[in-house]
């Protein structure tokens, strides 16, 4: 089926070459980082994880959200998702690849990355994160490819895929739970040391992932002859609505515990993120944008009449996606380090090179996604038309 990714019209190839160019630029930037060291980034002794790990965390959520299509389709036999499921699975593949790349570019000694497997360490959450991410990648590749292949031949998928699909449904929440545990089990990082972290991660994942799928589905309908289905998109809208509300609720819980208890360590990071501490307020504008977008999104989503309008739904989805991208891809990780272990505020801001490398990783993810979607849609067009 691979050949389908190599046949396309002019705009398809322009898009591919744009992505390749960005990937190339990102790669050159990475070479610079490789020789100079991670000092080219904005990270420091005090904020030792930054944009890369933030993107990684956000994208694990996007990957996990594929289950929001797989579960209704396979467990509840919700046929309307039949045309979308493969898009969810392929999005998961592209997201996991980006996750792995973001971890890779964040390593100080990338040549030693195999040490994680050569010296397996079950007491490290990072070891388990690697296990669940690689497992999830394999599951989605095998399932997506097999099911699509069967569809092409007009036969039902092989029997052995079913158990794998059920396994992948249970597996999806695990990848994001384990990722939350990277943060939620560290003594002394009050902002992260919260039992609701994993639940909040899942809620934001199941809002941002389906929001992205809505956007992708609408784009696909425009640029191809394949229609993912109006009703399926509306159902996704409902999923985004419920999980966005849950996410906002969970964030509210964090605020309550911090501010009602009045314990300084629990308050500080929230203060830093949303108001700034003693003039240190680099993240405040971003966090405020995130909050405003969340409010706008909830307003657009909560009324069924507004949501039913696809333009409004698209706007709401963009708002959800950007809001949660800022919240999780930036604020959550950086905020955990501010104030630092000495209760001093040392700020962080990504450098141009850091952003260029990140853009390169996103471009690779989009390349993979484009190729996979091209294959899936070509097969569907072939079968249906």
């Amino acid at each position: 089926m691979f050949e389908k990714a190599l046949q396309g019209n002019k705009s398809y190839w322009i898009w591919i070459f744009v992505l390749l160019a960005i990937t190339g630029a990102g790669f050159l930037a990475y070479l610079r980082q490789f020789t100079y060291g991670l000092g080219v980034t904005g990270m420091s002794r005090d904020v030792s994880w930054g944009f890369y790990i933030g993107q990684f965390t956000f994208l694990v959520g996007i990957a996990a959200s594929g289950v929001m299509l797989v579960l209704p389709y396979y467990l509840h036999n919700y046929k309307k998702f039949g045309r979308l499921v493969i898009l969810g699975e392929f999005l998961a593949i592209s997201a996991v690849i980006m996750c792995i790349l973001f971890i890779f570019v964040d390593l100080g000694q990338p040549r030693r990355v195999m040490n994680v497997m050569l010296h397996p360490t079950p007491n490290s959450v990072m070891f388990w994160d690697m296990v669940v991410l690689v497992g999830y990648l394999i599951l989605n590749v095998v399932i997506g490819w097999t099911v699509l292949g069967a569809e092409r031949k007009g036969t039902p998928p092989q029997g052995w895929v079913k158990p794998l699909i059920y396994l992948s449904i249970a597996w999806a929440p695990s990848i994001h739970t384990v990722t939350a545990f990277l943060y939620a089990g560290l003594p002394g990082r009050h902002f992260w040391l919260s039992a609701i972290m994993a639940a909040r991660f899942l809620a934001s994942a199941f809002a941002s992932g389906p929001a992205l799928l809505i956007i992708l589905a609408l784009i696909i309908r425009r640029v191809t002859r394949f229609d993912p289905g109006k009703e399926a998109i509306q159902t996704l809208g409902k999923i985004v609505t419920y999980f966005m509300l849950t996410n906002v609720f969970f964030l509210g819980l964090e605020f309550f515990t911090a501010f009602y208890s009045g314990i300084p360590g629990h308050i500080h990071t929230f203060e830093y993120l949303y108001a700034g501490i003693e003039g240190h307020d680099k993240l405040v504008p971003l966090m405020r944008i995130s909050s405003v977008l969340a409010v706008v999104a909830v307003f657009l989503l909560i009324f069924p009449k507004i949501r039913a309008n696809e333009t409004m739904l698209a706007l709401a989805s963009v708002a959800v996606f950007i809001s949660l991208w800022i919240d999780k891809g930036f604020g959550l990780v950086v905020g955990g380090f501010i104030p630092n272990m000495f209760e001093k505020v040392v700020e962080y801001w990504p450098t141009g090179l850091e952003l260029l490398i990140s853009l390169g990783v996103w471009a690779i993810g989009l390349l993979v996604l484009t190729a996979l979607y091209k294959i899936a849609i070509s097969v569907k067009e072939e079968v249906e038309l």
Binding site: R45, Q109, V116, H119, P122, N123, F127, Y183, M341
Partner: protein, 275 residues
């Protein structure tokens, strides 16, 4: 709700499994995960200083002036080839001063003596009995020895910096750039290299090691040696050691004990002779 025998047995069975299994899992987690740090043997060498659990007392009454502190810091940073990049962003440090309110956040009192609040305490790796950095390291590059020292294997470290996120004491530094390099003026970051101790590569984490290389030769840690008795180093498990004697006779505090890491570095606040 009615329930037939079969359903009842199912629920009863599940409950039993949960009831019996729960505690087993909890016990297993405690043993396997939370205290996973398999202790690593200390290489045997004749004439080496040995202990069951190394610890240190920082006696602040002996650090009155900046010179008192600086000679200790210099002794450590020189023999360990700790680079000086001249900026806080890339900074690497093994032992350094922090004022009371920053070394012991949350412990400062409103009306405490100004001199104490501003007193620069020497801080370093606490060689915790229950070190979170060891727990999180995905490659066992940071590990705990049987004598309580938390060590680094710089050849195994992949530079993921999970240990830096996990350490509640900010004791760990990362080589953001090549420590063997030179600045724009051509001055090497390691001013005067000590050939007896390895320099590090780019992209690995480092910190105080309680001078394992010196202990192996029967020497006290460099900082303790240079401190004129301000830093008392010894075996916390040996009742007759100097350090235990110090702990018996002085009121001491440790950093962030509420987190349960159990630091092995104690502080005598000083001031009067026997406070």
């Amino acid at each position: 709700m009615s329930m037939n025998r079969r359903q009842f047995l199912k629920i009863a069975g599940l409950t039993t499994i949960a009831g019996v299994g729960g505690p087993v899992i909890v016990a297993g987690m405690k043993e396997r995960l939370l205290e996973a740090s398999e202790l690593v043997d200390v290489p045997e060498r004749s004439g080496a200083l040995t202990a069951q659990r190394w610890g240190m007392v920082v006696d602040m009454s002996r650090f009155r002036t900046e010179a008192d502190r600086q000679k200790v810091i210099d002794a450590c940073h020189h023999i360990h080839n700790v680079p000086d990049f001249g900026n806080p962003k890339d900074e690497i440090k093994w032992i350094w001063p922090e004022t009371y309110e920053h070394a012991f956040p949350g412990r400062e009192d409103e009306y405490m003596p100004h001199a104490l609040k501003e007193m620069p305490f020497l801080v370093l790796c606490n060689h915790c009995a229950n070190p979170p950095c060891v727990r999180v390291c995905p490659t066992k590059a940071t590990f705990k020895r049987k004598d309580g020292i938390v060590m680094m294997d710089m050849h195994r470290c992949i530079g993921c910096r999970f240990c830096m996120a996990a350490c509640p004491f900010g004791a760990r530094s990362f080589n953001w750039r090549d420590p063997r390099g030179k600045d724009a003026q051509g001055r090497p970051f390691i001013r005067k290299e000590n050939p007896e101790y390895p320099t590090r590569t780019i992209g690995v984490v480092e910190k105080c090691t309680f001078c394992t290389e010196r202990l192996a030769k029967g020497l006290q840690p460099a900082c303790a040696e240079a401190s004129d008795g301000g830093l008392v180093f010894g075996d916390l498990e040996d009742e007759n050691s100097d350090i235990r004697n110090k702990l018996r006779n002085h009121f001491t505090i440790r950093r962030k004990t509420e987190l349960g890491t159990s630091p092995s570095v104690y502080y005598v606040i000083g001031g009067a002779e026997h406070v």
